[in-house]
Symmetry: C2
Subunit: 102 residues, 2 copies
Amino acid sequence: MKSLKKRSLESKGWKVGSAREFLNLSDEEVAYVELKLALSKNLQEYRREKKLTQEELARRLKSSQSRIAKMEAGDPSVSLDLLVRSLLALGASRKHLAQMLS
Amino acid sequence: MKSLKKRSLESKGWKVGSAREFLNLSDEEVAYVELKLALSKNLQEYRREKKLTQEELARRLKSSQSRIAKMEAGDPSVSLDLLVRSLLALGASRKHLAQMLS
DNA sequence: ATATGATATGTCATTTTTGACATAGAGTCA
DNA sequence: TGACTCTATGTCAAAAATGACATATCATAT
């Protein structure tokens, strides 16, 4: 694992395999976190494209503005589930999601 | 929404927008569920390709055999997070995940 | 300057997801 | 037959994610 990337993730509050379990699963953990961050980024772009405020999107999802903000900020407390459901609520298709990944 | 598809999802124990909220958000909900089911399917194939038992995969993930079984069965109690982490643990790349979606 | 609208951040009780466990089915082999 | 391996299914306490709320920050317009 690249120390640099790890450092940058930790700075956002993520726990990236802390010191002792520094091998094996770490790569997958990092891939997972990066995947979520990629979706976060796309979520914000998507929402702005649609000219929606966080509050409006929250209402559609029956969620809350603060949760949307945390999602877009890449907060570790938000699940992939919510990210994906948000993107779908914004009209993203599975094809779109696929493009965000690759 | 196609009644047929809805019926088939409900039969697996999924709650697909029950009767009154039969419009609007339903499509996204269905897309979300189908997405999970697609990953479930791929998970089982992937695991078998790798010649791993559910228990072995569970150990890698620090999860349990029963959870893996539920994932592969498309049980509504499992999150996208766990599905994706499982696929990553099996060596799937983001590109692979993308292909599963599109 | 200050009011207004959007976004960020922290906290917390409630809900959902989790791993663990028990146990049941289903297949194979001696 | 029974022993063995793998998978399915149900339950539940513990852990994680959630929406709601308060409040802070940051523009930008008046």
